[in-house]
Amino acid sequence: MKRYKIFKLKWEIIPIIIFLGIWEIIARINLISGHFFFPPFSAVVTEFWYLTVSGVLGPNFLSSLMRVLIGFSAGSIAGLLMGIIMGWSEVTNKAFSPIISLIYPIPALGWLPLLMLWFGIGEILPIAIIFICSFFPILYNTVTGIKNVDKNYIFAARTLGASDLKILVTIVVPLALPNIFTGLRLESGMAWRVIIAAEMVAIPTGIGALLMKAESLIRIDIIIVCLIILGVMCLSFENFFTFLEKKLTNRWR
């Protein structure tokens, strides 16, 4: 099993190496005129190293990371709790659905002007944006997950003497996990996409802000460094939840 995994990883890495090689060669032989606009991969790596040791990358990365972690955790916990309540109690669902259906389609960045005026430009702003962008989708996925749990399992638990709260905690929420995780996984990646956009538009620190600064200084190598970091972070957040889901549900699914 483990052997197979390593083998698979080797295969996955080959196309990446080929891609980077071609990139390097094209840039080196100056196929696209202006070395300037198309730095080779090696130059990007050098720049990455330079940005790291000079202490530019670290703080920017950390502030983006913190915003995502705080905003996403708060948003998903709130979405989860609210989703569980709405999925379980038909009355609450009926009361809140109309409002939520109206707010849900608004893109997270659409809130930016409003939130800028409400909170000003500070740390609350990006966290609030991430909160909004995670809260609604996770709420939706949780409600769907809870509602989709086969009623027969609830019947079975009830005849076995379980109270409603017990049934919710021991049967319904665990069985809704696959759906809940779909939401968490997608939104953890989405949080990175949104934070970068928010930082590019409105916030002076973070990877997104660094991107905009690099643009104004025409530093394509720095832009590429930022984009790679962004790609890697989206992927690792999504993979983390895939891993967690497998860990929690693979035995019985």
């Binding site: 019947f155 638990a157 005849t159 076995l160 003497g161 379980a162 049967i171 069985l175 019985w252």
Partner: protein, 350 residues
């Protein structure tokens, strides 16, 4: 353990159902699909709301929620919790009742043993076969020592051989535990095998309630439409061949039937349990009778024939294709083969 009484129960298809199930009894609820059998079980379990009253031991339980009714329910789909292993599934009812860990483990251990599934304790439902799931579900339903057991078509998800096994085992278990049980099925032979009494439900109405033999020999019109109307022969001669086998005569018809009781008074067999042949069948002459075909009636994909044997008429039902292949006409000579295991008897002492 307690008796159950249903008074004027109405819900969905069920209209004004009145039924009493005695303490320690195994009552089979028999009826076609959509008759309202599962609905009745859900009402007794308190899982759905209903009109009318349910009594356990003559005390009304209508206000009692399902989790307080102390019922063991084996669902048609079994509904084993997929995210728990076998042990956790069986222990669930005990766990939510806040029993101590040691008590739970001892009880689960005991149930694993009774149901012969000890080797499966760490498996998840998706890893189990139909029969194994059945055992786990039954163990789970019994874990809380319920006073009433409800079984909804419990043999639906297992193959014939396994179901035969499980039925025999279950019948013994039910008698040992002395637990009042309602067993739902749409198969008359299963009902006959399991039941102390049978209640036939059709379109939400109780059509007939009685001992298995009463239902078989004297079905009401609706019941005979469902389980079939048997050929009934009054016996005028009786002779015991061995402990389990008896030779009886009814006019010119001589039959060997299985019976352990006293003098056999009547023998009955359903038309579909008699085989028809246009040639003399091989094997000994026992339960093979010659007769004359006097009536042929086609109904959808089956053919109903009436065969005259001596002075008695026997009705035979068989699939159309088979009948057509035999190329038979009215007044032709035919042989009938009566399935020994499907011949039912009424003894004098009953």
């Amino acid at each position: 353990m307690s008796s159950i009484k249903l008074k004027n129960i109405s819900k969905y298809v069920c209209k004004n159902v009145n039924l009493e199930i005695f303490d320690k009894e195994l009552l089979v609820l028999l009826g076609p699909n959509g008759a309202g059998k599962s609905t009745l079980l859900n009402i007794i379990a308190g899982l759905i709301d209903y009109q009318g009253s349910v009594f356990f031991d003559n005390k009304p339980v209508d206000q009692l929620p399902a989790n307080k009714r102390k019922i063991g329910y084996l669902f048609q789909e079994l509904n084993l919790f997929p995210h728990f292993d076998v042990t956790a599934n069986i222990a669930y009812g005990l766990r939510v009742q806040k029993q101590s860990r040691n008590e739970i483990m001892a009880r689960v251990e005991n149930l694993l043993q009774i149901m012969k599934i000890k080797h499966l304790s760490a498996y998840y439902p998706k890893q189990l076969s139909g029969g194994e799931k059945q055992r786990v579900a039954l163990a789970r339903a019994l874990a809380n020592s319920p006073r009433i057991l409800l079984l909804d078509e419990p043999m639906n998800s297992v193959d014939y051989q396994t179901s035969k096994y499980l039925r025999a085992e279950f019948k013994i278990l039910q008698k040992n535990l002395e637990i009042t049980t309602i067993y739902v099925t749409h198969n008359f032979y299963e009902a006959d095998e399991m039941a102390d009494r049978i209640a036939v439900l059709d379109k939400g109405k109780l059509e007939q309630v009685g001992l298995p033999n009463e239902i078989f020999f004297h079905p009401t019109k609706v019941v005979s439409d469902f389980i079939g109307e048997p050929n009934i022969l009054n016996c005028d001669y009786y002779h015991r061949l061995s402990f389990g086998l008896v030779e009886v005569k009814s006019g010119d018809i001589s039959l060997v039937v299985s019976s352990e009781g006293e003098k056999v008074k009547k023998v009955a067999i359903l038309p579909e349990d008699i085989y028809l042949s246009n040639t003399k069948p091989p094997g000994p002459d026992i339960n093979r009778i010659k007769g004359k075909l006097i009536e042929i009636e086609e109904k959808f994909s089956t053919v109903c024939c009436i065969v005259l044997v001596g002075e008695r008429y026997l009705r035979v039902k068989l699939p159309k294709e088979i009948f057509v292949n035999m190329n038979l006409n009215i007044n032709d000579e035919v042989w009938l083969i009566l399935n020994l295991r499907k011949l039912k008897t009424i003894e004098a002492n009953k």
